[in-house]
């Protein structure tokens, strides 16, 4: 049975399901207990599962992310919440040198089955240290799966999958999407990591998007359909594993690629896809690749500047117009 719930509730159901099924699953993070997490993703879970399994941590990101690594290596399945992705930097050694590499360094003889939940995104007036979208940094580090669900449905299914996965997973949410609503089955289900989703098939222009850029791309696609342009919208859903086949198949079909992700322009997810296409499908391109992305600046506080920072539907339309010049 499906019903309409929010993205935050969908994540909450995934957590509750996994904790119910497996007593090695537990949650750590700041204010995740009685407070329910600042975006209410863990609301009610401490009442249900107790303070040991839904644990408020001290402000000690290095200790609780590293603690999750140690717990994961010794039989637990921790799910860690980092309040804003910006704060993961405090635990970077634990993420990059420890979590990501244990399995490989130990010759495949240790596993680190843990999830780190973070959120990205500007738009809440929280300025340069609470609005970043630097998830692409982790794409550069072998050994971490990176999930980016764009709907409540995928949020639930991908989080269950991530918790059950034997690898460390960075689970990237968008802080503006927690109150988005969508159809979500009541029962448990999984959505695979590393599989893109063609949300709108089309034959003229390929747009590969993440998180809330997917919804923006769909809106633009409807508008363009009225003008006779048939846009294909692909929700990438994971940065690692990267669904190269889905992207290449679409580019070979349309001869175009527009990427849409909120991270800064330089080195963001679009850069990797552009390189992929340059390496493997250059001969199918009929137009330049265009990246819709945040500008290469920190996020400013001032509301008009912050709004201008966020990649918009207009930016997508401008990108399409640029591509259309060549078709």
């Amino acid at each position: 049975m499906s019903r309409v719930i929010t993205y935050a509730q969908a994540l909450n159901e995934a957590l509750a399901h996994c904790m119910d099924q497996d007593d090695s699953v537990f949650i750590m993070g700041e204010d995740v207990g009685r407070y329910g997490g600042i975006f209410q993703v863990t609301a009610g879970l401490q009442d249900r599962f107790g303070v040991d399994r839904v644990m408020d941590t001290p402000i000690s990101e290095a200790a609780f992310v590293g603690g999750a690594v140690g717990a994961a290596m010794t039989g637990m399945r921790p799910v860690v919440e980092i309040m804003f992705i910006d704060f993961i930097t405090v635990a970077m050694d634990m993420v990059v040198n420890q979590m990501a590499k244990m399995h490989f360094m130990f010759g495949g003889r240790a596993k680190v089955p843990m999830v780190i939940r973070v959120n990205i995104g500007a738009g809440r007036g929280t300025a340069a240290q609470h609005s970043q979208s630097f998830h692409a940094i982790f794409q550069h580090i072998p050994g971490i799966k990176i999930a980016m669900p764009s709907t409540p449905h995928d949020a639930k299914g991908m989080l269950i999958e991530a918790i059950q996965d034997d690898n460390p997973v960075l689970f990237v949410e968008h802080k503006k999407m927690y109150i988005d609503k969508g159809e979500v089955p009541e029962e448990a289900y999984t959505v695979p990591l590393g599989k893109a989703n063609v949300v709108r098939p089309g034959k003229d222009i390929t747009v590969v998007a993440t998180l809330n850029m997917v919804a923006k791309a769909l809106t633009v696609a409807e508008e363009l359909a009225a003008q006779g342009v048939d846009m294909e919208v692909i929700d990438l859903r994971s940065l690692c594993p990267l669904d190269r086949e889905a992207v290449l198949a679409s580019v070979r079909k349309t001869g175009t690629l527009i990427t849409a992700d909120e991270g800064c322009h330089t080195g963001n997810m679009g850069a990797e896809l552009a390189a992929l296409v340059a390496e493997q499908a250059l001969d199918s391109l009929q137009a330049p690749i265009v990246r819709v992305a945040g500008p290469d600046t920190p996020v400013a506080f001032s509301p008009p500047l912050e709004q201008a920072y966020i990649p918009s539907e207009q930016d997508l339309k401008d990108a399409v117009a640029r591509v259309l010049e060549y078709l």
């Binding site: 001290p58 929280t126 240290q129 600046t297 509301p303 201008a308």
Partner: protein
């Protein structure tokens, strides 16, 4: 206690400015005039006022997400402060920083900080440059009880102690980090005992008693100025409002109304007013005059902020690199 009456009156005025400023921000936030997050300092005024009264323009402070009080006490002007909260071009950071990043390097204010514990190493660095180039100057580092659990606290105290840096670490222990009480985030009650582990003096004082804070901070700051190294000063206090404005029921979910009320009665300003009256330093009328003057100044800052323009969009691309 041999504190000159002028200083005593200044301590009072500083606390009043902070309180009145924060109450205005509370109201402006509730009416949607100020965007983003505003973490208010109401109830904790005695700490910033008492500590910063010992500092000159050439001394440094690092502040926190709850920084309005620190920067006011360090001498920041209300107009560019208020304009910054509005995100206006005339703000301290041209509107690009907002409440959590107010800075005025010329006044030694090395910034409020959005990262819990982010300011401690910065203060160590300011202490380094004082020691190397400006002996006699000091850096004061404000941080909260919960932020004392970030690794930066431990690394910074050790570093400052071993190199005898002129840094005073001022811990504002208001009993909570967002919803998590001190008992839930650390196994000690007096954070100052940690000083022993790093080889520096530590002291816990009543952070709602401005004269006590003033004197204790003065001693630590003098010691730092003399080149004798850092001190950890813990000031016990309480935050009246929620973690930030807009926090659902203003923090009522994780603490009792009675606790909040008890601390409201322990108001640092009310307590100081009683002291001032009892010791005949100021009359009720003189105190009222301070409030009236301050309210006017704050209204002026709001008018200034509201009339100022937003920064032009090109401003977004400025200042990324120097």
């Amino acid at each position: 206690m041999d504190i000159p009456p002028k200083t005593v009156r200044e301590l009072y005025r500083t606390m009043v400015v902070i309180r009145a400023f924060e109450e205005k921000v509370q109201d402006l936030y509730a009416r949607g005039h100020i965007p983003g997050l505003a973490h208010l300092y109401i109830g904790e005024e005695a700490i910033a006022a008492g500590v910063c009264a010992n500092l000159g323009d050439k001394d440094y402070i690092t502040s926190t997400h709850r920084g309005h009080g620190h920067v006011i006490a360090k001498g920041a002007l209300l107009k560019p402060m208020m304009a910054e909260l509005y995100g206006k071009e005339t703000g301290y950071c041209k509107g690009k920083g907002g409440s959590m990043h107010i800075a005025d390097v010329n006044l030694g204010i090395l910034g409020a900080n959005g990262i819990a514990g982010g300011g401690l190493p910065i203060a160590v660095g300011a202490g380094l440059s004082c020691k190397m180039k400006h002996p006699g100057q000091v850096a004061v580092c404000f941080f909260g009880d919960a932020s004392s659990n970030n690794g930066t606290f431990h690394e910074s105290l050790n570093f400052a102690a071993v190199h005898k840096l002129p840094v005073v670490f001022v811990c504002e222990n208001n009993g909570f980090g967002i919803s998590v009480s001190q008992a839930q985030h650390q196994a000690i009650t007096d954070i100052s005992i940690r000083a022993a582990g790093y080889g520096m003096p530590g002291q816990t004082v009543d952070g709602n008693d401005v004269l006590t804070v003033y004197l204790a901070a003065g001693e630590a700051i003098d010691r730092a100025r003399r080149g004798e190294g850092p001190t950890l000063l813990e000031c016990k206090t309480y935050r009246w409002r929620g973690h930030h404005e807009g926090d659902p029921n203003q923090g009522g979910r994780y603490r009792s109304k009675e606790d909040i009320q008890a601390w409201v009665e322990n108001c640092p300003i009310k307590r100081f007013e009683q002291y001032l009256t009892k010791n005949k330093v100021m009359t009720k009328k003189q105190m009222q005059a301070v409030w009236d003057e301050v309210e006017q100044e704050i209204d002026g800052s709001i008018e200034f902020a509201e009339q100022s323009p937003f920064p032009p969009l090109e401003e977004m691309f400025q200042d990324v690199l120097a």
